[in-house]
């Protein structure tokens, strides 16, 4: 077995321009974060709206949100990505199609597809968490609010949502982390995010082991630090008086 171990490979030239392999990893991490953050914003906004819709007394609205969740949770992420990347652009109006396929850089059109796909995919999960959070609140909360003369929007804005969002932080944290992990599917439509850069480094340098180790460490550290960050947020906004708020 002739494997040339070389942990210094990341500081070697890639042979393309003045870049070293580490630059590729940094670019890749940049794309990964850019995909995950924008997708998360979409998921958070859309998911919250859908989650509220699911708990509304109106049958049509809650049915629409329920259908959305069923659809987006039961089709594999990769299939959804292919639909957004290969199929949807063909159904756009002519001018948008030309813009998406020709005017944009390939990386940009792949980026848009991934962000939309991952945002809508995660929204279905966020919706379920928001719904669970709202349903977990005692019925007396909204009844008391109604008794005080609050309107339906006021009940949600001032009573239900401020509590629901705080108690669902732990499950939302894992959805947030999932967005980062799921963004790796972007590598399959050619977006040069972290995983794609890793594969490219492995191919160019033949130092497979080192490249994949570095990628694993980056994902691991990213994940752990985001978890710590969310733990801190959870502590800051904890609802006083609940069991979770005492002790650690």
């Amino acid at each position: 077995m002739n494997y040339h171990w070389d942990w210094g490979v990341f500081f070697k030239s890639t042979g393309i321009g003045h870049e070293i392999y580490l630059d590729w990893f940094i670019t890749g991490l940049g794309w990964t974060v850019a995909v995950a953050m924008v997708a998360w914003v979409i998921a958070l906004i859309l998911g919250s709206v859908l989650g509220v819709m699911r708990t509304l007394p109106n049958k049509t609205l809650s049915g629409v949100a329920g259908g959305y969740v069923a659809l987006f949770r039961n089709v594999p992420l990769l299939v959804q990505l292919f639909l957004w990347y290969f199929l949807v652009p063909d159904f756009l109006p002519e001018s948008l199609q030309v813009w998406f396929k020709q005017d944009l850089k390939p990386a940009t059109s792949a980026y848009i597809s991934v962000v939309v796909c991952l945002g809508l995919f995660t929204a279905a999960r966020v919706c379920e968490q928001v719904r669970t959070g709202i349903e977990a609140l005692p019925k007396g909360q909204s009844n008391a609010a109604y008794a005080m003369g609050f309107t339906l929007p006021q009940v949600y804005r001032h009573v239900l949502l401020p509590q629901a969002f705080r108690i669902i932080i732990p499950p939302m944290t894992s959805e947030f982390l999932n967005v980062f992990k799921n963004s790796s599917v972007a590598s399959l439509i050619g977006l040069m995010e972290l995983l794609a850069q890793t594969k490219q480094t492995a191919e160019f340098s033949a130092n497979l082991f080192e490249a994949f180790t570095l990628a694993t460490v980056i994902y691991f550290v990213l994940n752990m630090s985001l978890m710590k960050l969310m733990g801190w947020v959870e502590n800051r906004v904890r609802v006083p008086g609940l069991i979770g708020s005492t002790g650690k």
Partner: protein
């Protein structure tokens, strides 16, 4: 505009693809549950080292993307394997993916089993010990059967997620259901129709299974 008629001649190939998907799913679930149960037992053990290792394993696999794990087991681990055994036989994409799924899913199953075991009242274990059972007997005969009963719906839900995740073997070119649909669609020049068909099939199976699990959940309630 859409022409779905070309899917009919492709059905035998698509069925083969689905069989590969289901074979991968079945083996991964079995392997994942077995390894996951062992990990959960290790995690709950009194031995610090053992529980620490199990905890690290679970945290480690839960913090990296499945696609990265597949790449590890497809590209890097076979290299190490051949190196250790001195053989130059390729490991094969199916085996690589299977091992990746088992290792990855075990981390998720382990958490389900752990929660299941922890939900068993302590009196059950004490009663088993009082009857003279050892640790192994108490686990095998008293705790795990009850825990598994409680966990069945969660197991099934995780397995539905895994069913969808098997489509990621596309990354290593394995001809599972999705990849077969993609390649057939490209060959006959109708990629959209085949992609929609694939999505619909995944949806029907996952959604049907989800409804079944919900029904089971009511029956399994202890």
């Amino acid at each position: 505009m859409m022409d779905f008629s070309q899917i009919i001649p492709a059905l035998p190939a698509l069925t083969d693809g689905m069989l590969l998907t289901l074979r991968l799913l079945g083996l991964s679930v079995v392997g994942g549950v077995v390894l996951g149960t062992l990990l959960a037992l290790a995690r709950l053990s009194d031995r610090r080292v053992l529980s620490g290792l199990a905890k690290f394993y679970v945290n480690y696999f839960r913090s990296i993307p499945l696609l990265l794990v597949i790449s590890w087991f497809y590209l890097v681990v076979p290299l190490i394997y051949n190196w250790l055994t001195g053989s130059f036989e390729p490991v094969g994409a199916f085996t690589s993916c299977l091992v990746a799924f088992v290792m990855f899913e075990a981390a998720y199953y382990a958490e389900i089993v752990r929660a299941g075991i922890q939900a068993i009242p302590k009196g059950q274990v004490n009663a088993a010990y009082a009857l003279g059972m050892g640790y192994g007997q108490a686990m095998r005969l008293i705790v795990l059967p009850q825990a598994f009963r409680k966990m069945t719906p969660l197991f099934l839900q995780q397995s539905i997620i895994l069913f969808q995740d098997t489509s990621l073997v596309y990354a290593v070119g394995l001809l599972d259901f999705l990849n077969t649909a993609r390649s057939k669609g490209d060959i006959v020049g109708l990629p959209h129709e085949f992609l929609i068909f694939a999505g619909a099939v995944y949806f029907v199976i996952s959604f049907g299974a989800t409804l079944l699990v919900k029904r089971l959940q009511k029956r399994f309630a202890v």
